[in-house]
């Protein structure tokens, strides 16, 4: 238990001043601008937006600067900022099938309508440190090619599978608004929409590890990457005063469709099942891990044995949020003096009793008998 303490104001204020100076680092080195972080640390910015659950690249970049690059601290800042703003409403669901693609790959089909485009990827690089980046110079110019005629039309791979009934259809939109864990605390069991919201803002490392655990046998789902697509989608919103949907602008998203084995049941013929991941920016690892865990959390719904950590929604959802996790772990470093004093008293007493028993074995035996009698 934490008991409040008083005092230390001057030291705290000075610590924060020292933090500000330390954040700046060596002043002979030029200061980073927020725009530089936004443009050149873009994947980190994407991660702060995804886990901060707030799309705003400039704000995420600023938070990273303020947090000295500490990801979870930046997420904390972003989450705190959002609490200061009014909510205008919810967007129309984004249409990822109409995404303007920057990258689109499938591990299930090599020939796809719309093609496979690698886009800007680390895949197939040799992971050799590029010392040329340490020297300032012009960035290389990207190659260009004439887009093929079908490039503008790239249906989702799951839509292609769905035409033949080989994959389960998505649960249809019945018009009920999805639950929102920022408004109502999570209650178990949580439906899939709430689970996806929690996973979308969940810590990438935690979700990644859980997804990995399913691959290693703790709740196996036999996944294939049906498709990963990265690109921009239009976000639309219907303001009450206008009554029609207004284009808010475009955001970058990463979507992952996992295609998983399913043997069917008495009612359902054998067909593939799906796991789904969606994240702000180019966040492929996150979207993939999310899709794995989404599918694992459907074990009960699909009549599969449940027992692995990744299938336990209370375990997954109650621990996937980096901010909640860090809050509880890091509070341990705050003064716990009163609490600890009590523990100290107890240990001293137990030690004294222990010593007394050992110093006088006969007396100790008597004492034990006495205790047992009590």
């Amino acid at each position: 238990m934490y008991v409040a303490v008083k005092g230390g104001e001057a030291a705290i204020a000075n610590a924060h001043r020292l933090l500000a100076e330390t954040r700046r680092g060596d002043t002979s080195v030029p200061e980073l601008s927020v725009a530089q972080i936004r443009e050149q640390m873009a994947l980190l910015v994407d991660r702060v937006m995804t886990e901060g659950s707030l799309h705003d690249p400039d704000l995420a970049a600023l938070a990273l600067k303020q947090a000295r690059g500490d990801l979870i601290e930046a997420v904390f800042l972003v989450r705190a900022y959002r609490t200061t703003l009014p909510r205008f409403g919810a967007s129309e669901p984004v249409e990822t099938g109409a995404m303007s693609l920057r990258r689109r790959i499938s591990a299930t089909y090599k020939d796809l309508p719309g093609g496979q485009v690698l886009g800007p990827t680390f895949d197939y690089t040799h992971r050799l440190i590029d010392f040329a980046l340490a020297a300032e110079g012009e960035a290389p110019v990207a190659a260009e090619a004439e887009p093929l005629a079908d490039a503008a039309h790239a249906p989702r791979v799951t839509d292609l599978l769905g035409r033949d009934g080989l994959i389960e259809p998505s649960a249809p939109d019945d018009g009920t608004p999805p639950g929102d864990l920022t408004r109502e605390p999570l209650d178990f069991p949580a439906d899939r929409a709430l689970r996806l919201q929690a996973l979308a803002r969940g810590d990438e490392g935690f979700v990644l590890a859980l997804g990995y655990s399913t691959q290693r046998g703790y709740g196996r789902t036999h996944p294939f990457v049906g498709e990963i697509r990265v690109g921009t989608v239009a976000v639309e919103f219907v303001p009450e005063e206008l009554g029609f949907s207004v284009p808010l602008g475009e955001i970058d998203l990463t979507e992952c469709q996992m295609v998983n084995q399913f043997h069917g049941s008495a009612e359902v013929p054998p067909q593939f099942t799906r796991g789904y991941g969606l994240a702000f920016g180019q966040s492929e690892r996150k979207a993939m891990a999310m899709a794995l865990v989404d599918r694992a959390l459907r074990a009960e719904e699909l009549g599969e044995p449940v027992g692995a950590p990744a299938q336990d929604q209370e375990f997954v959802l109650a621990h996937c949020d980096a901010l909640q996790a860090t809050g509880f772990v890091e509070h341990l470093k705050l003064p716990h003096y009163v609490d600890f004093q009590a523990e100290l008293e107890l240990v001293r007493r137990l030690r004294a009793e222990h010593a007394a028993r050992h110093a006088a074995p006969k007396a100790g035996t008597e004492a034990e008998m006495q205790e047992a009698a009590e």
Binding site: L59, S91, V94, G97, L196, E241, G243, F244, S245, V246
Partner: protein
């Protein structure tokens, strides 16, 4: 802030598709492009705030599986503005981000577009934004196209 009342809703005299296109262009424009467009139209003076520019949140929704039931992905910052021109035309803007000044410029352009005799001029003033965006999209598509890949399946020895 005026309380939105469906009865006060603007008559749909304007073509919502065309209006949405102009709103989308304003959203994609850089602030200096909107300044330039308004300066060219020479009519920004006298627009009063129906609602002062304000930054808030819109919850972005996706769909389960891309095409199923909606779920809440995460919020986005959105800035809105509403203005009224001396002639009575009202304009609105809702943009991703936190640029209040830009939202007000866009709302003013939306209001000007509501005036039928100014519509063509507003669209002309925003034409450079559309052509810049089109150029950027084409250039981007060409760079992406160069990374289009054809994988070949290698035959296995035992097959």
């Amino acid at each position: 802030m005026p309380h939105p009342n469906p009865a006060d809703r603007q008559p749909e005299a304007s073509d919502p598709v065309a209006r949405r296109a102009v709103m989308a262009l304003c959203g994609q424009a850089r602030p200096e492009e909107l300044h330039r467009a308004l300066a060219q139209l020479g009519a920004a003076e006298g627009a009063e705030d129906l609602r002062p520019p304000e930054t808030g949140l819109v919850m972005t929704r996706g769909r389960i599986g891309g095409d199923g039931r909606p779920f809440n992905l995460g919020e986005a910052t959105v800035t809105r503005a509403a203005v009224r021109l001396p002639g009575g035309a009202t304009g609105f803007a809702y943009h991703l981000g936190r640029d209040r000044a830009k939202a007000r410029l866009a709302a003013t352009l939306d209001a000007l577009w509501q005036v039928p005799e100014r519509r063509a001029a507003v669209e002309a003033a925003l034409a450079p934004v559309a052509s810049r965006r089109a150029e950027e999209r084409t250039a981007q598509a060409r760079r992406i196209a160069a990374t289009r890949v054809n994988f070949f399946t290698m035959a296995r020895g035992e097959d």
